[in-house]
Symmetry: C2
Subunit: 231 residues, 2 copies
């Protein structure tokens, strides 16, 4: 058993090293990760990698899950910083953390939120980690509502079918959050994703050198839309 675990430990270390090298390749060479190049860097032959990952897609999936978790952890840690009642402070901290992580890990961000690879379908293991950032954001709204520092927006503009969809999501992840507020929270999350993607994928105007200020202003606009108090 102890002898078995030494083999298992070597194997686990091998898997880790493959992921580290693969992540390095991802950062330098971009999204088209080459198994052979990873193997070359490790002094192995390409077919040996298949002892540890059944296919290239499985290696990518492992990297994706870890990236989701890293992003989620960064956002959660930032949200945990300010006072619980400082809703705007938490909002900005969480948004900035997501952007900072994306800017320091552009290739991994592209892996998560870029165009999906045609043949590749993200397995179910990814959906849990993927939801950590939006759950954190809407959590800020939930806390604000509970503390009475946030009034739910009018729900009159919501069609019934959409309201039912949103209620289902709220039941699963955010019990007690009214549908209209949830919709606004999702709008904030969509905007955050759009802002980061525009900046990272280079579609943003070149004539916008002060990107930090632009980002902060746009996230503040969304905080206004959601109704976070200024205090």
């Amino acid at each position: 058993m102890a002898a078995s675990s030494i083999r298992a430990r070597v194997r686990a270390e091998m898997i880790d090293e493959i992921k580290v090298v693969a992540r390095r390749h991802l950062a330098t060479d971009g999204a088209n990760l080459s198994l052979r190049a990873v193997a070359r860097d490790m002094g192995m032959v390409s077919s040996a990698i298949y002892r540890y990952f059944p296919s290239r897609d499985d290696l990518l999936t492992a990297l994706i899950i870890e990236a989701y978790d890293a992003l989620g952890a960064a956002v959660e840690a930032a949200d945990a910083g300010p006072d619980r009642l400082d809703l705007r402070g938490r909002w900005h901290a969480a948004c900035r953390a997501a952007r900072d992580w994306a800017l320091t890990h552009p290739a991994e961000y592209a892996l998560l939120y870029g165009s999906p690879v045609p043949g590749y379908a993200a397995p179910d293991d990814t959906i849990g980690p993927a939801q950590r950032p939006p759950v954190t954001l809407v959590g800020i709204l939930r806390d604000g509502l509970a503390a009475g520092r946030l009034s739910p927006p009018p729900a009159d503009g919501l069609p019934g079918e959409l309201r039912a969809d949103l209620a289902e999501i709220a039941d699963a992840y955010f019990p007690g959050v009214p549908e209209a507020l949830l919709a606004r929270g999702m709008a904030g999350w969509t905007q955050l994703f759009g802002l980061i993607s525009f900046e990272l994928f280079g579609r943003i105007n070149r004539a916008l050198p002060h990107r930090d200020a632009y980002f902060d202003h746009q996230t503040a606009l969304m905080a206004d839309l959601i109704g976070l108090p200024r205090d």
Copy 2:
């Protein structure tokens, strides 16, 4: 000269057919376009393609430019439908047109707004067509401002440096549009892009079957943020 132009015409038709076949491959097989497969479909050998396009990236660039123009034309046509003073009608029409185009041309949309290919840098020819949708959207705000149906938002929250950046963009594309309003317009454009990307790239909640209603509600929220009158 006439004989020369017959040769040139055949050449132009050849280029067109390559692009048509390539677009078909793009739609079925996804983003990794294979030159050899295109050549095979045309009954040619792969090296013959290089008579017409110096590289695969150049072929992709041609497709990208045409896709930008198609999307831009769709958005502009939709915007031209409603009465000029029906700002909200124009806004929704333009947003829906962008989404419809993306849903019917997912691979081309991914080419435009997905993760950039590592080695590939979009040439300058693309930035003109790429700006047609946002120019159209902000044009709605400009018209509303000129007609007095839209009041510019307060500019007190804008840092000076950001204000200068926005003023430069406004001078180049939207003369007369105040900085704070331009920022809101860009927020709307970012949100539109984020909404479409989330839906198309599958990151949207599976538990949201009524996507049309969701999309309309989210774009209406942005119209509220911008200050488009309800009437």
